[in-house]
Amino acid sequence: MIVVEDLHKHFGGFHAVDGSSLTIDRGSITGLIGPNGAGKTTLFNVIAGVLPPTSGKVFMDGEDITGLPPHTLFHKGLLRTFQIAHEFSSMTCRENLMMVPGGQSGETLWNTWFGRKRIADEERALQAKADEVLEFLTIEHLAEQKAGQVSGGQKKLLELGRTMMVDAKIVFLDEVGAGVNRTLLNTIGDAIIRLNQERAYTFVVIEHDMDFIGRLCDPVICMAEGRVLAEGTLDEIKANEQVIEAYLGTGLKNKEKVGA
């Protein structure tokens, strides 16, 4: 589905992504893990067209999509969420979702003047859909709230909700879980699995929560210092010495002192 070939992204002299090559299979839920600063988000940004690569290529279904702007990729079915929530703060949560689908006839000026009927019909359908998503995310009570004024976790939920508004082929989730309540995260995990199974979405998931990764992802790719460190099932990865040293660690040293 997505093939990344020897991708480099340099910031000045710093090599944030330093020759990563990876393949994401259609229909998989691929986990992307790695220490802070490994270059995961940067990799996403390059694939999604937010940043131009220094060198290297990205293919989607065999088509070279390197450097295409994000909005074009969106229409090709590539969606992504942001690690640091990018809500439309002065719009209500419902509007945040309703704006997502592409090709709305009301997005053409001409129709706004002379195609009111059609727009009204579309809007009704959209609103129903948006409300459904809000409900799923347990934030239906926030439909009319400005997105700038909801809690940090709720913003992350909106991030995710946006990807649920359209039929995507591949969705890149950048730490949707950070800051989201774990019970809800489980529900989200279920939804991801459902979307994957029922609608054949492909997912790439960055997460630092190993339980979450473990429940959803196969395969898992671990990055470090801009390169792919290891690839495989989570158990394989967990057993990898390098991964343990760079990323997983060995647990709390001071734990025994707790409650002492």
Partner: protein, 273 residues
């Protein structure tokens, strides 16, 4: 809606402009859970608060932490955890309730006065100076200190080695997890008497999270009370002396970390099973 004049973009929380956390000083009657807050080091007592002219977000909510203790607040998204932290820090309009620090009523103090009183806080979002270098961020953490803080800085660098590497880089150019480390580092630089952390581990890798928790425990053991909000609730509660579960702005459960972890109901509804 909160503030009609406000620029909704970016991190401009209007509520913060409230120069003094006004509010009546009469503590309201007890919460559902009997809590011994009288002699706690830091206590937000029966707080009722909201943003601007908006509705109450917190309802008669009490949070307290004692010397050398780690208190963890958990709860669903939008429960009011961050709001509670901000209320304790005087960043929004307290409509009822009081905040006491080491026996003093500080309900009327401005946030910067609370900093001077020795409170340190890491907000959940926008918690670094993006245009300043990592080192300058840490220096800003030590802004109110007049002594030599190079030791503390060395400690922070020790804790988060990556920051030392990046110390001359603008903090806005860091990865999500690195930013989080800067944010916590900044708060540690204050050498506060009490430390408040809003989701310090969101987005940090397991290994750093462990380090962070280790460090938090260490800090706590030096006698500094720590109040934190966590979604990595199970790990957090494991090290917590005290846990609060907030639901819709109210204290729903509280107890020791172990107790909460053991509670089936709590586990299922709030800790993800």
């Amino acid at each position: 809606m909160s503030n009609p004049y406000q620029d909704d973009r970016g991190n401009k929380d209007a509520s913060i402009t409230n120069p003094k956390g006004q509010g009546t000083l009469t503590p309201s009657p007890g919460t559902r859970q009997a809590m011994d807050t009288a002699k706690a080091f830091l206590v937000g007592d029966s707080m009722t608060a909201g943003y601007g002219n908006g509705p109450d977000i917190l309802h008669d909510c009490t949070i307290a932490v004692d010397e050398g203790e780690i208190a963890v607040i958990v709860g669903p998204n939008g429960a009011g955890k961050s709001t509670g932290m901000k209320a304790i820090f005087g960043m929004l309009d307290m409509r009822q309730g009081s905040v006491r620090l080491d026996g003093d009523d500080i309900t009327g103090l401005s946030p910067q006065d609370r900093v001077a009183k020795g409170m340190g806080f890491v907000p959940q979002t926008s918690n670094i100076f993006t245009s300043m270098t990592v080192e300058e961020n840490l220096e800003m953490g030590a802004f109110i200190r007049t002594d030599d803080f190079s030791d503390t800085m060395a400690q922070v660098y020790d804790l988060f080695p990556i920051l030392k590497e990046k110390r001359l880089q603008a903090a806005g150019e860091l990865s999500g997890g690195q930013r989080q480390q800067v944010a916590v580092g900044r708060a540690l630089m204050t050498q506060p008497k009490v430390l408040m952390l809003d989701e310090p581990t969101a987005g940090v890798s397991p290994i750093v999270m462990d380090e962070l928790f280790d460090r938090i425990i260490e800090v706590a053991r030096t006698g500094i009370p720590i109040l934190m909000v966590e979604q990595n609730a199970r790990q957090a509660l494991e090290i917590a002396d005290k846990g609060y579960v907030l639901v819709q702005g109210r204290n729903a459960y509280s107890g020791t970390g172990k107790e909460l972890l053991a509670d089936e109901e709590v586990r299922k509804s709030f800790l993800g099973g």
